[in-house]
Symmetry: C2
Subunit: 174 residues, 2 copies
């Protein structure tokens, strides 16, 4: 079970970045994203993507991230993605042995307590890049590409991989 | 040699997305990014990131992408990242054998000719996610994590990986 907690973004400025994080979470086999601020618009984005592309990826909003993480920590490993953390090239094998994961994706300013409460602080390289790329590479590394085998139920459209163009299967759902 | 060509984004709406693409390209060991539209602001972003974090990542602007790709194709393999393409899980070993690559990263509307002129159209999964995540996972897959060993010369600051906090080395350059 892989879930995402996204904190620290500023809704107005970062709406496109947040949308990309949601899409990566869903496409790379996480089941749910929790966000720190209530955002009906993002709920609608998730509804529309599920409706067209299938599956039942979930979004939920939390008020108190400290309390939330403490409760989750009883049954999930808390993995904080940060450029300051332990090198993913070294940490990958340890993490592969974990079952339930709550992955924390933050913006530039993440509260100090997150570093303390996390079971793992993991760096996808120690250069600045993007929380979107960090999440994608992390999910790809821990699932070894198997995330792309996932089937999304009740999709209206499906892409058939093609070496030279666009091959889209439109489905009628009874 | 890995270079990136970024086409199709709209500068105003997509400025943050473009910035993330630039940062991923640099952090994941590409040497240069070409952009379709002239943008002095992005040039400044690259200058600042090199100045603080080191290395000499380059940015350049092109007028005619068709002509540009045709010239590049003489000595580079053209790799177009698209959700409609061939599955990365299958294509990776072929691409590993290539030396010089020009990786094309587009927005939602990429001209049809790109699919034709590319040597490879590669899908990082067939679900919608993000051109930022697609680029990152592709560069991670073809370099097997070795991109994170790259040293960036003349950096003013460097991060020392740490399991529990922020460990930043500030350097004085003579």
């Amino acid at each position: 079970m892989i879930e995402i907690l996204q904190i620290g973004q500023r809704l107005v400025r970062d709406e496109r970045v947040i949308t990309h994080i949601i899409l990566v979470a869903r496409a790379f086999n996480a089941t749910k994203i929790y966000m720190h601020e209530n955002n009906e618009h993002m709920k609608n984005t998730v509804y529309k993507i599920n409706s067209t592309w299938g599956g039942n990826f979930e979004i939920d909003f939390i008020n108190n991230w400290k309390k939330f993480i403490k409760i989750k920590k009883k049954s999930y490993k808390i993995i904080h993605l940060t450029m300051y953390g332990e090198d993913i090239n070294c940490a990958c094998s340890k993490i592969n042995a974990e079952n339930n994961m709550l992955i924390i994706v933050g913006a530039s300013k993440v509260p100090r307590e997150i570093y303390e409460i996390a079971d793992y602080n993991i760096a996808i390289g120690n250069q600045p890049h993007s929380e979107i790329s960090a999440l994608a590479v992390f999910l790809d590394r821990i699932q070894h590409g198997k995330q792309f085998l996932k089937k999304f139920n009740n999709a209206k459209i499906e892409i058939i991989p093609d070496v030279r163009g666009k091959n889209i299967l439109s489905k009628t759902i009874d």
